[in-house]
Subunit: 217 residues, 2 copies
Amino acid sequence: MGVERMDPGDRRRQILARARTLFRERPYSEVSTTEIAAAAGVSRALLNHYFGTKRDLYLAAVTEMLAVPPVPVPEYVPGASVRERACQSIEGWLELLERNRETWLAAVGADGMGRDPELEEVVDAARDRVVDHIVQVVGLGPYAREHPEVRALLRGFGGMAEAASREWLVRGRLTRRQVHVFLEETLLRVLADILPRVIEDDHEMAPSPGLPWPSHT
Amino acid sequence: MGVERMDPGDRRRQILARARTLFRERPYSEVSTTEIAAAAGVSRALLNHYFGTKRDLYLAAVTEMLAVPPVPVPEYVPGASVRERACQSIEGWLELLERNRETWLAAVGADGMGRDPELEEVVDAARDRVVDHIVQVVGLGPYAREHPEVRALLRGFGGMAEAASREWLVRGRLTRRQVHVFLEETLLRVLADILPRVIEDDHEMAPSPGLPWPSHT
DNA sequence: CACGTTATTGGCGGCCCGCCAATAGCCGTT
DNA sequence: AACGGCTATTGGCGGGCCGCCAATAACGTG
């Protein structure tokens, strides 16, 4: 038997493409090399031939997922203000996410390993507890009950806290003091200025999701 | 053979403890139930008896890791200002991280699945590309070269962007517009007010890492 | 000292993965 | 047109890990 021969480069690309779609749908451990091989119409051993191990194949897949998306809109607008440039860039980022929704979720979810709903739930609960804590500490109770988005925004802040902490503990690019100042200042600005603006902004417009430049008016 | 019998509750706890330490050191797929069982001095089948599957055991372990840490300092100080309370709470969070460093890294790293250095590197690179993009867009080039911390802070902002985006795409608790406003406002405040403060704060003090209340002076 | 209860285990069956020797398509040469 | 040689491709072996179930052996109780 054996499929027709193929140019190694093409073959490699073809396998990688199949692997990518599968890894996008289900987590690493749930996808077997057998399955990938079958989907590509190829023997399992060929995967090992082109990419060494299963993990290597996975790495190649994730790398490709992340290679396309980021920074696709590096359009530099010299005459514009910082705010305008930031606004446009953020809009580009959101646009990108909306388009490559699945890919992005798989890739960053892959930060760990990709879509394990149960595990996700556990970590999620822990993060929600942090949010609860913040709400209590800063005395946002009533406001948070009235506007559920408050909790979501605080989860955003939590994401920043985690990332900054990693910069301190793992990569050593920030000192503990710097992390502290950073988080404290940001939290206060978010609470005092940004949070109300996000909420009010939502309420003063129709829920049509298309309007491009919401803020710098 | 067979070890001496033990109270089911105790046995369960004992196994879980061993599993926790192992899962803290190495990623999920690198730890075998055989190994856990051996470490606990127990047959492999007993793991399946107490916890159903390997993943269930893992979930239990992570749950316990995350159960202890969060919100251990819910001390509510009524008389204090919001800033003081926030400051103290953040200090508590950092203190906690510093103590349970390993646990925390394993648990949140476990967001995916825990410590896969190669994969981590791939995602890391992608995030750095986002930081590059931001630096370019807002024209921070020279400043960023002078102060490497700038990039670290922007990674923090990146964490917020990812978290907020998840609130929008996955949990649906924010609209796209809200995410936009949130990110734009925060980024601008960070750039204009917070970033300089973090940097200058670092330079005006000795690098002694112990001083507790850096900011609200 | 039986005797039931149940914590504990040995071992089977199945799946998955990495590797290597063997196979079979394609191409240039004569 | 036949023939090698090169290499893409594969079958299958060996090892590991996991879930399950029937069998076993501690322990409490009459």
